[in-house]
């Protein structure tokens, strides 16, 4: 897995709440055998007009959004289906972190396993971030995962909660399957006693 240590980027504001994984990548694009190349289909039904052209009103299509690696989203981001295609599509577009007041459980777990960082902040910090991005869409935020800290444009630092194990894996690019397989003896003895 790709490791994650620090990130410095401006953010795209996606103000909708309850952005579900059917919006992040519609189900008709799940007929793939691959994890790669899904960036094109990210937010497909919001991003393109019926004639296939870019929807100029959609946040990701704005000129200032280009190159952003952070999405600043509304509450309960990633709800709905368990499709890991959602973080794959976000990462395929270039996103490395999503900031919200809360995330759906499965989406959060899927993201952490792919090097996409869900950053949960309180409502006041969220409001401040939204105001910052509206005032200056190119305002730079920086993320330091080792410190679990987000630095806002004015220099203010905000801690964010992160599962210690997920943090450890992300920082060191540790793959969780390898970690599980390290318990082979215990798995064997569990199976022997539950045969």
């Amino acid at each position: 897995m790709a490791s994650f240590t620090t990130l410095i980027s401006h953010a795209v504001l996606l103000s909708a709440e309850n952005v579900d994984t059917d919006q992040i990548i519609p189900a008709r694009f799940l007929k793939t055998l691959d994890k790669n190349g899904l960036g094109k289909q990210l937010f497909f039904d919001w991003r393109y007009l019926p004639d296939g052209k870019d929807n100029p009103d959609f946040a990701l299509n704005k000129p200032e959004a280009q190159g952003a690696q952070i999405i600043l989203a509304g509450d309960n981001f990633g709800c709905g289906s368990s499709r890991e295609h959602a973080p794959w599509a976000l990462m395929g577009w270039g996103i490395r972190a999503v900031i919200s007041t809360s995330f759906a459980d499965i989406f959060k777990g899927n993201s952490l396993k792919n090097g996409l960082l869900p950053i949960q902040v309180d409502a006041a910090t969220h409001a401040k971030l939204v105001a910052t991005v509206i005032a200056n869409p190119k305002a730079t935020l920086s993320v330091d995962l080792a410190l679990a800290e987000l630095t806002l444009t004015d220099g203010a630092k905000v801690k964010f909660p992160i599962d210690r194990f997920a943090q450890h894996c992300l920082l060191n690019g540790i793959d969780q399957l390898g970690y599980i397989l390290g318990f082979e003896d215990k798995i064997k003895s569990y199976e022997a006693s539950h045969a």
């Binding site: 007929k31 709800c79 798995i187």
Partner: protein
């Protein structure tokens, strides 16, 4: 110490526990389907790993399979490639597959219980968020992502952080034509789509006890729509009766041993939950959703909320949903035009759901211009329905009687709404475009959906 059902299942599946690390949890049953598994198998191959317990892994094809009986044409080459990849993967790794056309094929969450794989006290996972369905048997069942599918294939284990518990106590007696679907839609309307985030729900109370197993599955199925990865119901005689005699249920002395174990599963008196929500069953009416997430639901006779009922981001979300749905705030939904009726999905495609729908279709004709799809959850259900003559009731009324599959629940197989169309659907998600790009979904019970063959959103209780 008094323990909850969840605690009992959790604790008996711990393989390893270390400080500041998630627990290593053993998985008893792993269900897979074509959409969320290909990348997991590629991962195994890349590492030269085997499937650790093919005997605990079951595969079915459901998401993109065609449901038109005459010409079972897969929609496109991509779907075809995905289906054949599943076939290859199962053959290579020795996994039992209910392929398209197999008489035991069906929707993954219908097949598990039907064949007797799903049993009380198990840990069950699938790369599908509605795995919560299986919690109806007192198992801990939840959806996982594709990376985790790979973990389970390779190790039969998952890394999990212990969730909190929420008791959802539903007391009282449901009124006429009020169903399990209405209980769960009412719960989600109450706690919101994130209300259960971080929790495992346990449904308790007299109204839950009174439900048949299929209805309990409907309730647990939509736990995820309230943000909870899993929902559980303690097993009782109804559970044991349902499991007993099924193909993969324990037999003979094994059955007796299993039963003894299962009877110890229900939460102990005085066991503590982290939080509790109460629902008064007698106060419920048939529910219907109006918006673009399952928490946007109301009693069918009620007026929709007004923008002024919300503040801030919630108000914006409400207004956005109203625009997408083309609805007027503050007005009731009753009488609103309906273009499509969909009876199906892992929420409501079991025999009792079809019987309920048929009781309304009987002697009626689908209104002009309304398209009605009835899609059974499995071949077994299809056969049973046909033996009871339900298929004739549907087709006589002018509905389409289809082959099993997910169908219009997720609109991957060609069964889909056209932009702007309104559907009353027994499925579980009303997200924008879920049932077809631009389509607009009202979620409801099979009774309420069937009542919409009148061409309008209808209170089933007012039909003669």
């Amino acid at each position: 110490m008094a323990k909850t059902l969840f605690q009992k299942v959790w604790e008996t599946h711990i393989v390893a526990e270390e400080a500041e690390r998630p627990s290593v949890l053993y998985i008893d049953l792993h269900l897979i389907h074509e959409v969320t598994s290909p990348q997991a198998f590629s991962g195994l191959r890349a590492r030269g790993l085997k499937v650790r317990r093919p005997d605990r892994t079951i595969a079915t094809m459901d998401h993109s399979t065609p449901t038109l009986p005459k010409h079972l044409q897969v929609i496109d080459d991509e779907a075809k490639a995905q289906l054949s990849q599943l076939e290859k993967n199962c053959a290579e790794f020795g996994i039992q597959l209910y392929a398209l056309g197999d008489s035991r094929n069906g929707i993954v969450h219908v097949v598990g219980p039907e064949r007797g794989f799903t049993q009380p006290g198990m840990t069950i996972v699938c790369g599908d968020s509605h795995t919560s369905t299986h919690g109806a048997f007192g198992s801990l069942a939840f959806g996982i992502g594709t990376s985790e599918v790979e973990h389970v294939l390779a190790s039969q284990c998952l890394l999990q952080t212990k969730p909190k518990t929420m008791e959802v106590r539903v007391e009282g007696t449901l009124g006429p034509s009020v169903t399990a679907k209405d209980i769960i839609l009412a719960l989600i309307a109450k706690i919101g789509t994130a209300g259960g985030t971080g929790y495992v729900l346990e449904y308790t109370g007299s109204a839950i006890r009174a439900l048949e197993m299929e209805a309990r599955m409907t309730v647990c199925n939509m736990s995820i729509e309230g943000g909870a990865r899993a929902g559980m119901i303690a097993p009782d005689d109804a559970t044991y009766q349902f499991v007993n005699g099924r193909e993969y249920a324990p037999k003979g002395a094994d059955w007796d041993k299993a039963l003894e174990r299962w009877k110890k599963l229900p939460s102990d008196a005085g066991a503590a939950y982290d939080t509790r929500v109460d629902i008064d069953a007698a106060a419920l009416e048939p529910m219907i959703t109006y918006g673009t997430h399952p928490g946007m639901g109301v009693g069918i006779t009620k007026a929709l909320p007004s923008a002024s009922d919300f503040v801030g981001a919630e108000r914006a979300a409400f207004e956005k949903a109203m625009t997408y749905m083309g609805l007027e705030a503050g007005k009731p939904l009753l009488g609103h035009k309906v273009d499509v009726v969909f009876v199906g999905s892992c929420t409501n495609s079991r025999i009792s759901d079809l019987r309920a729908a048929a009781s309304i279709f009987k002697g009626r004709k689908v209104a002009n211009g309304v398209r009605t799809l009835v899609v059974p959850g499995s071949h077994d259900i299809k056969k049973q329905a046909e033996a009871e003559g339900l298929d004739r009731v549907f087709t006589d009324a002018g509905a389409e009687w289809r082959e099993p599959g997910c169908s219009m629940c997720i609109a991957m197989n060609g069964d889909q709404l056209s932009p702007g169309q309104y559907a009353v659907s027994t499925s579980n998600r009303n997200f924008e475009g879920r049932q077809g790009k631009g389509g607009r979904t009202f979620l409801a019970s099979p009774l309420t959906a069937a009542a919409a063959v009148t061409g309008k959103v209808t209170d089933v209780r007012t039909l003669g």
